[in-house]
Symmetry: C2
Subunit: 290 residues, 2 copies
DNA sequence: TTAGATGCTATCATTTTGATTTGATCATTT
DNA sequence: AAATGATCAAATCAAAATGATAGCATCTAA
């Protein structure tokens, strides 16, 4: 009896591709496998036979079209993560390799307007992993261009932009820097001071629990409960203090004490706002501290 | 002479993993490869030797640490797409297979609060590919729960939620439905009416060209130009009419005729707003039509 | 009715992989 | 200073996976 766990990486990948295609496209032909994996025809037949052994009820061959079709009894052989799936549908299946990409015309992700530079991300990530500082020029919205030395310890997406969280030698505190506004990065070989490492970034390491509820102004709260998968009307989140403001802004969470913001975009209310300490990260949160 | 193009899929994947690790982590040990691909030790040595043949200047072994390190002369062997990279760093390398996931603690994507149901996405995608209608219950924010029959033709992310674009039999027009608010989906075997197919969705098929410029209120426009990769101060986009409003809202684009919105969140201005026809999709766009 | 496309299976040569052994380097311990 | 242990490389051989090919089945479309 063959078993999924015994198979090697390449075989599992091909079976996952079959599973994915059946589940999300509903059909599959041998040529699709050949196209994607640049494999031989005989292998495809073998893979399809193997898949059929592992999940006999999942697909049937229709000779009229010479394709395999998902059956009504289909049970996925692999667990596909929803976010990863949608990414695969939009970008094409197959991470890491740029070949075999044929994105679906029927699945479009948001238009990405900001594309961090690969070299910048690479340099930052290496500096983070190797605990090194980098020198750079930074163009801030408030103060324009300045040269700095920063000690990065994490990269985070705030919903629109990728930021690097770093100790800033100039201001002597931990700050966020937008990755696309960094230029002329250079690694600095000298070992960093331990007080500049990520462990000392309190706003980053402090995990807050926030409670979100459907905004009282919403006339059909069930819709919002479905969106956010709320069982009992509450959504409890653990969020880094440094990222909380971004999160509230991204999701248009009304952070006023009494849910007093009006406007159709506020679907959620931060119901424990008064329990939270006064946070600088929340300066951008809608309605906070008014 | 070995050549990248000659290698099989599995080998290319392992080389891409080596390339990726060197570029974004800066180092790599044989054990990392074993861990990820569940491969034998001997294979790793072979893969590393092969990588070294293909890119001799990219890495060196340091016996002190028994790891390979990226050299200063590193030239990536594979093209890594920035969005895909950041995804890989956050979620772990290796699409399609859930094994070998060890996401970086130093790269955090936005907190996803909305998780579309895999079955719903699968059913919709199959209906789209097979040009079929589905019956469903939909809970709308304005009118609450209703039963409908829709003919989907695309799935799109509007920046916060995944929508399905579909012909709605009830209203007899093309509309957006939030995927998480769809329940009790059932495929309808009857063939669809051709007037209900995606080709007739004019707001979807109409591609508009929009011109974005840095908002005049920004004091250091260079920062914004860097964010959006503007060469000459302009950003020209081709956008589906049906998605334009979402895009303007997602990026906080001031859509007023004279860039009259105030507020630090408006980094961009839609400079050709007056050239655009009156669009229902733009109802949610900041400042539009005021 | 027949040609053509695409599917399956079987066979065999080739390639890739896994397991094992031997030897090297270097940090750590004795 | 020498022994120990961890991890690397390289070589070898057996096992497994893959590619190529050929013969046959099924169905569509001409």
């Amino acid at each position: 009896m063959t078993d999924l766990a015994q198979l090697n990486y390449a075989q599992k990948e091909r079976l996952a591709f079959i599973d994915f295609s059946l589940q999300f496209i509903g059909q599959l032909a041998r040529a699709d496998l050949v196209n994607h994996f640049k494999t031989g025809l005989a292998s495809c037949s073998r893979d399809l036979t193997l898949y059929n052994e592992l999940a006999p009820a999942n697909m049937t061959l229709r000779h009229e079209t010479k394709r395999y079709y998902r059956t009504a009894k289909f049970r996925p052989l692999f667990e596909h993560n929803p976010e990863a799936i949608l990414g695969s549908l939009c970008r094409g299946f197959g991470d890491g390799l740029s070949n075999g990409i044929h994105p679906s015309a029927h699945c479009v992700d948001t238009t990405k307007l900001i594309h961090p530079n690969t070299e910048v991300i690479a340099t930052l990530m290496r500096a983070i992993h190797n605990r090194m500082a980098v020198s750079c020029d930074y163009i801030s919205l408030t103060s324009g261009e300045t040269s700095r030395v920063i000690v990065p310890h994490a990269i985070a997406n705030n919903g629109q932009r990728w930021h690097v969280r770093a100790f800033d030698m100039k201001s002597k505190e931990f700050r966020d820097f937008v990755c696309t506004r960094l230029q002329n990065l250079a690694e600095i070989a000298d070992p960093i001071n331990s007080s500049q490492s990520g462990e000392h970034d309190t706003a980053w390491n402090n995990i807050l629990t926030v409670e979100l509820v459907v905004h009282p102004s919403v006339s059909h709260p069930k819709a919002i409960e479905l969106d956010f998968g709320m069982d009992d009307g509450f959504l409890h989140l653990e969020v880094r203090e440094a990222l909380l403001g971004y999160l509230m802004r991204q999701w248009n969470v009304d952070c006023s004490a009494e849910a007093s913001l009006t406007g159709g975009e506020y679907h959620l209310w931060l119901s424990n706002a008064k329990d939270l300490p006064n946070l600088t990260s929340m300066a951008i949160a809608p309605g906070y501290g008014f």
